[in-house]
Every structure is written in structure tokens, then in C-alpha cells.
Amino acid sequence: MIEAKEVNKIFGGHHVLKNISCSFEKGKTNLIIGQSGSGKTVLMKCLVGLYEVDQGKIIYDDRNFSEMNFEQRKNLRQEIGMLFQGGALFDYMTVEENVMFPLNMFTSQTKEEKQDRVNFVLTRVNLENVNWLMPSELSGGMRKRVAIARAISMNPKYLFCDEPNSGLDPQTAGVIDQLIKEITDEYGITTIVNTHDMNSVLSIGDTVAFIYNGELWWQGNKNTILHSDNKELNEFVFGTELTSRLKQ
């Protein structure tokens, strides 16, 4: 379980996160939703330590991340996998080298063991015979899948996904969502997904936290979200033609 306790983040006098306290459960797909600029990406970056919180604590299974030194964080981060919005694959490496990178850096496995692991995770994300392609030769959906493969190559306990569906067609977005859900269930990972895609919310949202103007405005799950009477949440969820028809 990952907990955020009274987290505050201020950028140059602009209070981006205001006293956010919430928990993300083990073995579940925990979604953070909110409008663009609401602070959900900042919250995720605070959770993984890319931004330091100005006040508050981040707790990973009773380990206070906010008080850890560089070495302790380095060790904890080997338990974290992260899927970035654009994939963040290393341009100068092939698909195989990208996925093998964490194994090369942090394990003493033999070349054969690493190769087996790479082939296994690539197969797991339904990618085969792409080992020697460069990231520039991949489609958006394939890049995301390679990034997921890299994120799970070290068997992480925590998986963070920042806008995993951005820039993808609805069908490919659905495939990525299901992949994240399956991996979470299969390995009992604590998964946190940052999204504003309502399809994702309704299909994989075991828990949902709605961030509004830097505050935690509502918490629930994919079933309760459709029946909430929270005005701001309803405006966000049913803001499109498709979802407003769903409501009716």
C-alpha cells in the first residue's frame, strides 16, 4: 500500500497540491483522475520522488519515503516500475536493450537469464520479434507496451502509469488498460494510474481519486462514480457527449 499524508506542493507561490491524504491499495488498480492542470501529474511525481513534497509524507508499506536518503531511495526505487506518458524509451537503444537496461544495472544475472526475462516480459505484453527494432520504428501503442515491459522487468511491487492512453486510438487504449489490469492482478502489484480517460475509469478503476484544483475532491470506485452527486465530479465525468448520454 502507498499512502500520501497531508501532502502539499508549492511552485513559486502557486499552491498546486493542498493537503492531499489518500491511500492506494495493494493488488488493485488505483486511478487518479482530474482535469488538465488539476495537479494529478504533480501528485504522481511527488509519490515517486521526482518532486520533493513541501509538507506531508509519502509512505510505502510503512516505509517513510520522504525521510529516506539517496541510497535508501535508490533501493526502494528498484521496487518501482513507471510507465511515462510518451514511453520514455531510450532512443539510442533497441527494444531489447531498453527492457534489459534495469536488469543490466541492478542484477547479476547471466546473459541467458536476462535474455529469457526480456523475452518473457515482451511476450507478456504481446510483443514478439521486435527485439532489434529501435523506438523510432515503433507505433505509439507498441512504445507503450515496450515501456510496460521495461517497467515490469524487475518484478516491481509498485507500478505507476502516467496517462497510459494519451495519443492512442480507443481500441489500442483498451488493450493497454487491460494489460495494466491483468499485470496488476497477476502479480499483486500496487498500481497507480493517472488518467482523464473515462473508458479507463469505468473498465479498470478499482479505486478512483478525483483531484480538483489541487485538492482531493472525491474518492470511490468505478461503480460509485456513476451515482455520485458531487457537482465538480459529475461535470468532469459527464462532460462529453458520450458520457452524458451514458448518464441519461
Binding site: 515517486v48 520522488g49 521526482l50 531511495r73 535508490k74 533501493n75 526502494l76 526505487r77 528498484q78 518501482i80 513507471m82 511515462f84 506518458q85 510518451g86 520514455a88 524509451l89 531510450f90 532512443d91 537496461f101 534495469p102 543490466n104 544495472m105 541492478f106 505507476f160
Partner: protein, 246 residues
């Protein structure tokens, strides 16, 4: 104020850069890649510019010797002194600041804006050390080699020009090159080169690493890296000359 802030940020970044690499084998692999990218790929431009600059120095010196009391061997002497003392270590370093510096800043800057550096940090990799340290070591290893090559090419270019235009005989030119030669000048030139290589790689790495934004900012970081590196090379050239040649 901005200079003080940047200096502080630079020092803090360097403290992260100059640590023991997390995995020796990966460091050596990256070092070889950087030697190839930053050094070997610069051989052509260094050789070309050096040869032509040596030729121009030789021609100008030859045409300016009017007095019969000044021996023609002075052409070789002038080419040698100007190439070894200033032209190769300083001017070629300025050219490398443009070529290599912009490459380092834009490469690291692009990695920053496409979240590749964040990805490294999330994995628990010291991204500053992983990205910048091999570039610094590679520059400090390969730049002296490039400068020695530049010295050879400069002197060779001067000789080729003199032979081609029939201004000075080979005997006079070679005699001039050998007059009052002091090996210390080579040591001084290579010492300057090491300082300049450090400046180019760390300043460019710094501006690339602190890039924030998109493609426009990557371009700006690249320009700043070249401008600041060039200014520091000129300033340190004065300081080092004063320290080691007086």
C-alpha cells in the same frame, strides 16, 4: 544573481556527476561510445581546419618577411609556435565547444524533455553520473589526442602550402620548425586542452541536464552551452597562459 544561482546549481550537479559509477561494465561501454561520438567523429573537421589554418599562417608569414636579415626559416618557426601555443589548444577547443558542446547539451536536453532522465531516476540510477561522467572522461581522454593531431596537421599544412607555392624550401621550413624547440610548450598546450575539455563537457552537460520545456528550450540550452563554454575557454586561456608561461 543568475550567475551565482547557476554556479551553485553547477557545483551541486558536479557533486552528483563525480561519484563512483553504479556498474563498472556499463560505464566502460558508455565511455567507448562517447570516445567514438565525441572524439573519433571530430577527427575530420579538426584535421581539415588545422591543415588550412597552418597553411594560411605560413603564407601570411612568408609574404610579410621583407627584410633580407630575417631568414626564411622563420616561417616554420612561426607556424610551429602559433600552432602549438595557441591555435591547436585554444582555437580547436573553441571549435570543439561548438561541435561537441552542442551535441552534449542537445542530447541530454532531449532526454530531459522526453522524460528519459526521469525514467533513469525512477529506476534508481544516478542519471547525472550515468549521462555526464562518461562524456567528461571521454573528452579529457580524446581531446588531447585531437589536439596533437591538430598540431601535426597545422605544421603539415604550412609545409604543403610553402612547397606548393614555392615560397620557402623544405629545408628552411624544417629548420625553422626545429629552432629553439621546447618540449614544455607541448605540455602547456595539452594541460590547457585538459582544462578546456573539462569546461566543454561539464558546462554542456549542465545546460542539457537543466533543460525544462520542449524543443525550443533544447535549442536554447544548446546555444547557451556553446556560448558559455567559449567564454570560459577564452577567460581560462588568459589565466592559464599567465600561470604557466610567465
Amino acid at each position: 544573481m543568475k550567475v551565482i544561482t547557476n554556479t551553485g546549481d553547477y557545483v551541486l550537479l558536479m557533486l552528483r556527476v563525480f561519484t563512483k559509477p553504479q556498474k563498472g561494465r556499463i560505464f566502460w561501454q558508455r565511455l567507448l561510445d562517447e570516445i567514438q561520438g565525441l572524439g573519433i567523429e571530430s577527427i575530420g573537421i579538426v584535421a581539415f581546419i588545422s591543415a588550412f589554418m597552418g597553411a594560411v599562417v605560413a603564407i601570411q608569414t612568408a609574404y610579410n618577411i621583407d627584410s633580407p636579415f630575417i631568414p626564411l626559416s622563420m616561417v616554420g618557426f612561426t607556424v610551429r609556435q602559433s600552432v602549438i601555443l595557441e591555435f591547436s589548444p585554444t582555437v580547436i577547443s573553441l571549435i570543439l565547444a561548438g561541435k561537441v558542446g552542442s551535441r552534449i547539451a542537445s542530447e541530454i536536453g532531449t532526454m530531459r524533455v522526453t522524460e528519459q532522465i526521469d525514467a533513469l531516476e525512477i529506476m534508481g540510477v544516478n542519471s547525472a553520473n550515468y549521462l555526464i561522467f562518461p562524456k567528461v572522461v571521454a573528452s579529457m581522454l580524446i581531446n588531447p589526442v585531437l589536439i596533437v593531431l591538430s598540431m601535426w596537421m597545422g605544421i603539415l599544412g604550412g609545409w604543403l602550402a610553402m612547397s606548393a607555392f614555392g615560397l620557402v624550401t623544405t629545408t628552411d621550413y624544417v629548420r625553422g620548425i626545429r629552432i629553439d624547440f621546447q618540449a614544455y610548450t607541448i605540455f602547456y598546450a595539452l594541460l590547457k586542452t585538459l582544462f578546456f575539455a573539462f569546461i566543454i563537457s561539464t558546462i554542456s552537460g549542465f545546460y542539457g541536464y537543466k533543460t525544462n520545456g520542449g524543443a525550443l528550450e533544447v535549442g536554447q540550452a544548446s546555444t547557451k552551452a556553446v556560448v558559455v563554454s567559449s567564454i570560459l575557454i577564452i577567460l581560462f586561456n588568459l589565466v592559464l597562459t599567465q600561470l604557466f608561461l610567465t
